[in-house]
């Protein structure tokens, strides 16, 4: 029986889709059979981040409306044959799917896949309710910013109220240099405020932008974000992986320059 994981945040633009793509890719690299579902109806994104936008024939709404079978709508990844994407509908509105339909869909996918990752839309309305309906556990993504952390707290409360009790935190886009200068909350600060267990810290890394440009998730690649996402995938699979040392080593010139930048 597969596990259904919802990736959510409350606030938009903190990295839900990027996290879904990379964690799913990381799990697939470790041999798991993974399905990614984009539940953001009307604003589909996960397909372009995965680089699969040209292969879409059917979508989530087609599946729940029985216009096609699930297998027809699932798109196989370019690089990993055990990774699949169920894209969202671009034209329909967000009321096209109900929580009951999502529950039915995820329960069917459980028989086929080891992990089903749901990329949740921003907000706490219908789309959020759909995405969490069939989930066993949740990953809450936040950045170390006041607005994102506040929304994450609301989301954690709503997940609890909906009996999803296995919730972990991903602190995304952390800048170790700013934390060191006291100009950004550390992951410890965020964990203290939100009072849930951490599962990953992803540094602010320009490789993420490049990887999205190319439509190729970077989990497992040589950069810091790639390593961080791979570690999150491993932790979800139950491995005990130490956290990366995100300390930036500045060159002499950078140190010298930063004195004057103040």
């Amino acid at each position: 029986m597969g596990e259904v994981i919802v990736i959510t945040s409350g606030k938009g633009g903190v990295g839900k889709t990027t996290s879904t793509a990379n964690i799913g890719t990381g799990m697939a690299m470790m041999g798991k059979k993974v399905a990614l579902i984009d539940t953001d109806i009307g604003l589909r994104n996960l397909d372009v981040v995965m680089g699969l936008e040209n292969r879409i024939v059917y979508n989530l709404v087609d599946v729940v409306e029985n216009n096609c079978r699930i297998k027809q709508a699932l798109i196989k990844d370019k690089r990993y044959p055990n990774l699949y994407l169920l894209p969202s509908a671009q034209t329909k509105d967000k009321t096209a799917v109900t929580p009951e339909q999502m529950k039915k869909l995820t329960s069917e996918l459980r028989n086929e896949f080891d992990y089903i990752l749901l990329d949740c839309p921003a907000g706490i309305e219908q789309g959020f309710k759909n995405a969490i309906a069939g989930a066993d556990r949740a990953l809450v993504v936040t950045t170390p910013e006041v607005s994102a952390v506040r929304d994450a707290d609301r989301i954690i409360g709503l997940l609890e109220a909906n009996d999803i009790n296995k919730t972990h935190l991903i602190v995304n886009r952390l800048r170790a240099d700013m934390v060191k200068e006291g100009n950004m909350m550390s992951s410890d600060d965020v964990v203290e405020i939100l009072a849930i267990d951490l599962i990953g810290i992803v540094p602010d890394d320009e490789h993420i932008v490049i990887s999205a440009n190319n439509g190729e998730p970077l989990a497992g690649s040589d950069c810091q974000a790639g390593q961080a996402y791979m570690n999150i995938s491993k932790r979800i699979l139950g491995e005990n992986v130490p956290y990366l040392d995100l300390e930036v080593t500045k060159t002499f010139f950078q140190r010298f320059a930063s004195i004057f930048k103040r």
């Binding site: 006041v146 506040r150 409360g157 100009n183 103040r262």
Partner: protein, 93 residues
């Protein structure tokens, strides 16, 4: 110039400010009842306790927050009240 202005700045860093502002905002977000209802409940609690002891209404702090259970089995909403008593030896009988 840069390091000079830094010198005179308050010692609290912007991340500390973020943290304390967030804690306050989240506490009120987590509150389950409206400010009016809170006020009513507060007044009723003061009324009842004042029957028995002389309390310091200025130092009074009553809030509803999400709190971890003692046995760590989950969280509940709880009324937390800190009500200072004026009398130094209140329950003399």
């Amino acid at each position: 110039m840069g390091f000079l202005s830094n010198w005179f700045k308050s010692s609290e860093s912007s991340s500390d400010i973020a943290k304390s502002r967030l804690k306050l905002a989240i506490t009120s977000d987590r509150a389950v009842c409206s400010p009016e209802l809170m006020e009513q409940m507060k007044n009723d609690i003061i009324k009842v306790i004042s029957k028995y002891v002389d309390i310091d209404t200025k130092g009074l702090d009553i809030k509803v927050t999400r709190t971890e259970l003692d046995d760590e089995s989950g969280t509940v909403n709880a009324v937390l009240a800190s009500i200072p008593i004026k009398d130094k030896r209140p329950f003399r009988g």
